[in-house]
Symmetry: C2
Subunit: 219 residues, 2 copies
DNA sequence: TGTACATCAGTGAACGCGCGTTCACTGATGTAC
DNA sequence: TGTACATCAGTGAACGCGCGTTCACTGATGTAC
């Protein structure tokens, strides 16, 4: 099995993949070289055959996480353009499931705080990625670019903000309430929903199926 | 000067204060005991006279940061109830100034990612604090509690999300564009602004003075 | 087909460094006389 | 008022541990003959 063609590339891919999950789960700086190699079924010594340094891997892994996230947004937007509209997109993003599955979830809520404290390469990748996602969200709207981008940013901000708050919160009722409020708000302000001010208020379109625990004031 | 009454308490306070700034600036896990003591003008050995462990200080410092942030929100809301309304609150929060001054800024955007990865004490303090802030924002609204809370959470989410995106971004034009979009959206959805759907569209109330660099698509 | 050799992904001991924590000691202050 | 002593916040050397990085070595595979 050893030396089968492309073996080295396979290993490289496996490490980057694992790292892209790990940094989302535990934070960029918490990534440990030996720990990661163990996860990949290897010992720590071989690491430097594939990467110049720990920081080098971090840059690769972060780029991978961003790339996946952009693809994810692309799929969500494609689906929104087909059936469902933004409602599906929003209610896929703001769920308990996405709350729990940070490792495979969107890189924006998982890593934006780490990016701010991170290196230049990471910040550049992030900025370009965010701009791409904004473009994705704004593209479909039949309105002036500037306005569409503004609403796209607003939608992205609520979704990001609500998911982060929901994840950091440790009381189930509050978590659910935040997700529900986020879904409601994101839908109201999405670029393709509010072409005219009236049409924006689409209460009935917000799917409620995810509310096992009806939101309630809890303090 | 040594042994003047309350000297020990003063030192304790100074360390907690410095730590509360430091964890916001660099993240909870990046806080170093020796480094922090140096900032307080002391050597590392004395640390354990005041704290049981590094984690103990982290809990204290985080509680301090949350406390300050809640007070900050209280002041913002008080001011909003007087003159200015929500416009002032929003445009104070979503500025380049707040972007830059993370250490003394709101703990929510600075630390919510760290909270998710943090200990039980930190998560509890955070959850209770967030609930308090939601209550603060919802209180003034003359509408059903549930609806007011929902809008309060939405406002908080955009402000948090937009500030985090703006901070993580490294291109000035994009940063400004995100702040502006956040200001616009937060104002539209604030609990006291949208008593009826029509009154909510208060474009003219969003202060534009902060746009030295007019937002533009940059990719 | 079988044997000797070259290749190179992966191994694991070792090194240096930073960091949290401990502990015997210091020395300025307050107090007893 | 002056002197001896007790107190205790703060000092800094030392310890153990985890981690990033290096490097001489291993051993399975592919190739030459």
């Amino acid at each position: 099995m050893r030396y089968s063609k492309g073996r080295r590339t396979e290993t490289y891919e496996r490490i980057v993949k694992n790292a892209s999950l790990r940094i989302r789960e535990r934070g960029i700086e918490s990534m440990r070289v030996a720990d990661l190699m163990k996860t990949a079924g290897l010992t720590h010594g071989g690491f430097y055959l594939h990467f110049k340094s720990r920081k080098d891997l971090i840059n690769q892994a972060f780029a991978r996480a961003m790339g996946e996230s952009i693809e994810r947004w692309q799929r969500l937007v494609d689906k929104a353009d087909g059936e469902g509209g933004f409602a599906d997109m929003v209610s896929t993003y703001l769920t308990k499931r996405h709350c729990a599955d940070i490792a495979r979830g969107c890189a924006l809520p998982a890593l934006s705080a780490d990016v701010r404290r991170g290196g230049a390469a990471v910040r550049k990748t992030f900025s370009e990625g965010v701009d791409e996602i904004i473009e994705l969200l704004a593209k479909g709207a039949q309105r002036p670019t500037e306005e569409a981008r503004r609403d796209a940013i607003a939608t992205l901000s609520v979704m990001l903000g609500a998911l982060m708050l929901a994840r950091a919160t440790d009381r189930d009722a509050l978590t659910e309430e935040i997700l529900e409020a986020g879904r409601h708000a994101a839908l109201e302000m999405s670029p393709r929903n509010s072409g005219d001010p009236e049409a924006g208020h689409s209460e009935s379109k917000v799917p409620k199926k995810l509310d096992e625990n009806p939101p309630k004031s809890t303090s």
